[in-house]
């Protein structure tokens, strides 16, 4: 199975229907404030247990594409990002909409999302096969240091302080340790509860962190009602000529989004921030950013959509999630008895090519769906939260129970939801927590395998070049904020670094 044959196969009615359904659901849910793509994918995952694996995965990938784009609608009209990746979009899309151009703001965002997504898709198609072959050459030390690098990366790039990001990652790692250890079949950290013999299951933890914590947050602010702007009769579809002067920004933001997505663990909100900052730095009118700049909308939306495709690269080639939401897709692969990692391309090429092609087709469908239905979505996207919250919780319980037929897993959802809510109150980010939780089995397994191969020596970590490279990047990311602080303090105190 290769790229073209899988592409043609996905155009058949059944798989095409799943991609269309996933994209449409993603766009709608992404537009609803309080609902995120992560929530939608986590809630849908248990419903796919008895589906064909290919159809399940292509639908989930399509949901991911749709939800990242859908978040722009509420960002533009309500000044509330539907998804975290649309935060930067609110800075310029809302002012532009408020100043009487909501259709143009939406049109620019939709077009930029499409270009960003397709650019990343091209990179995904070109880079995945050789990267997967290269990944087969990696040994346990390379995987260990790569996972370590991913944890440090996401901690250092997440919102707020790096200490809190690292704490979240380490806490996620701690939560992944109870249960039966696969390396030596030792039972550990069950505290005498037989329900913990298998550890905390991935799906209930994801439902708790992604969904339940958000539900509690929404319950706290349930009386807040945003003011909604109306869309006029103008077209949201921008002709190719209207993009004149924006192509450099489009391409730059798409490339930034793609390559930040390839970095393990880093999500689309970071991509949109970096793309936005780069666009502002190179703009001839940087003062317009934050007041309705078209360049700002383009940078944010192209960056966040490109991140989705970029993040699929490490997932399909190495089994390392490229973003917290990819951690759910990793869970989907495992739940459908597919082994993530470089061998996925060898053993199940049809699955990998289907995911990649579904991503490309979903981007095209996203453009069509958004242009055709944005007015309808704008009218109905504000769903009364007093009904939404209990409904979503019922879905969480069903999903968690379906995994293991134990009510304990539903309690795990509630428990991790409360944990996630209070961590966010303390400004401790949840993305690193999820990455830490998902990657710990790989980290520990690879470290112990490496030590067994080297007779207990840690030296291969620094003598193997690729392992050393990952380790150096991790150390650099860990200490660069401290170096930055030191340099700023020296500047404030007026101590020159060099004598003239």
């Amino acid at each position: 199975m290769d790229f073209l044959s899988t592409f043609v196969a996905l155009l058949a009615p059944a798989p095409f229907f799943y991609i269309l359904l996933g994209t449409a659901a993603g766009v709608f849910v992404g537009a609803v404030p309080g609902m995120t793509g992560g929530m939608l994918i986590a809630l849908t995952l248990p419903l796919t247990f008895y589906m064909d694996s290919t159809n399940a995965l292509i639908m989930l990938v399509a949901m991911y594409v749709g939800s990242v784009s859908g978040g722009m609608i509420s960002a533009t009209l309500l000044r509330m990002p539907g998804t975290p990746s649309s935060i930067m979009t609110t800075f310029d899309a809302y002012p532009m909409a408020r100043d009487g151009q909501p259709e143009r703001a939406l049109g620019i965002g939709i077009g930029a999302s499409f270009i960003g997504g397709i650019t990343a898709g091209v990179v995904l198609v070109v880079l995945s096969p050789p990267l997967s072959r290269w990944a087969m050459l990696l040994g346990p030390w390379e995987y260990f240091t790569m996972v370590l690098m991913a944890l440090v990366l996401i901690a250092s790039l997440s919102h707020g302080s790096m200490l809190k990001g690292l704490l979240a990652g380490a806490l996620g790692m701690l939560m992944a340790t109870p249960g039966l250890n696969p390396t030596d079949a030792q039972m550990r950290l069950t505290f005498g509860w037989h329900e913990l013999d298998g550890g905390f299951h991935l799906l209930p933890v994801l439902l708790g962190i992604f969904v339940m914590s958000q539900l509690i947050k929404e319950a706290v602010t349930i009386l807040q009602r945003p003011k909604r702007l109306q869309i006029g009769k103008g077209s949201v579809f921008l002709k190719p000529g209207e993009w004149a002067g924006h192509w450099v920004n489009l391409l730059r933001s798409s490339v930034i989004g793609t390559f930040i997505g390839i970095l393990p663990g880093v999500g689309s909100s970071i991509s949109s921030m970096v793309a936005y900052a780069a666009a502002k730095a190179s703009s001839k009118t940087p003062e317009r950013f934050g007041t309705g700049s078209e360049e700002g909308i383009i940078a944010s939306e192209a960056g966040n959509n490109a991140n989705v495709g970029g993040a699929l690269v490490p997932l399909v080639t190495m089994g390392i999630p490229g973003s917290p939401i990819d951690a759910i897709l990793l869970g989907a692969l495992i739940l459908h008895n597919l082994q993530p990692g470089p061998l996925l391309f060898i053993n199940n090429p049809e699955i990998v090519w289907s995911m990649i092609n579904a991503y490309l087709i979903a981007n095209v469908l996203m453009l069509i769906i958004m242009v055709a239905t944005v007015r309808a979505i704008a009218r109905i996207m504000y769903v009364e939260r007093s009904f939404l919250l209990p409904t979503v919780f019922v879905f969480c319980v069903v999903g968690a129970y379906a995994d293991s037929s134990e009510i304990f897993d539903a309690w795990v959802v509630l428990g991790f939801g409360l944990l996630g809510f209070f961590l966010e109150r303390a400004k401790i980010p949840l993305g690193p927590f999820v990455i830490g939780f998902v990657l710990t089995p790989i980290l520990e397994g690879q470290l112990r395998s490496g030590l067994m191969l080297s007779d207990g020596s840690y030296l291969p970590m620094v003598t193997r070049p690729v392992s050393l490279l990952f380790l150096l990047v991790a150390i650099l990311m860990l200490f660069s904020p401290m170096l930055g602080t030191l340099r700023r303090r020296r500047a404030v105190l007026g101590r020159p670094g060099k004598q003239d």
Partner: protein, 164 residues
Amino acid sequence: MSERKIGYAEVGAGTFLVVLSGLVFAETRDIAPPLYDPLGSAAIPQVVALVVAGMAAAVALSGIRRLRVPEADASEPGVVSEAQAATTPEQAMLFVALCAVYLVVMGVGLVPFAWASLVFVTAAGTVLGQRRPAAAAIALLLGVLLGFGGKYVFTHVFFLDLPQ
């Protein structure tokens, strides 16, 4: 969120995590020594627990420092801002309590999924909808749909197990 609230949250979260990692570390002493590999099953949880404890203590200390700084608050004492008035922590606590009761009644086998979901959605929808009669009516309808309709869809369409 005000600096004081963040400070309290940092102290609370930090303290909780220090205690949690202490419990985990204590539990690792029951893990048998390594048989096949040099590291064993206790090493990673022990190291991670220590790292979490250290970082959590630092976050808690940062919270204490934050609480010591007098808040530069422009609002008059006793005057509640619009944003503050729109937050309802007691509603959220009630919602969480209802969720817990929902799980308890299904977990002990007292009430099957359909009826438990009907009552839960109706109660939670009414409470979160400020106890307005219209909200209660819609919540009841939604409860029937989710409880009985949901039971059919989940079991006959998606073939999922439900708490009975």
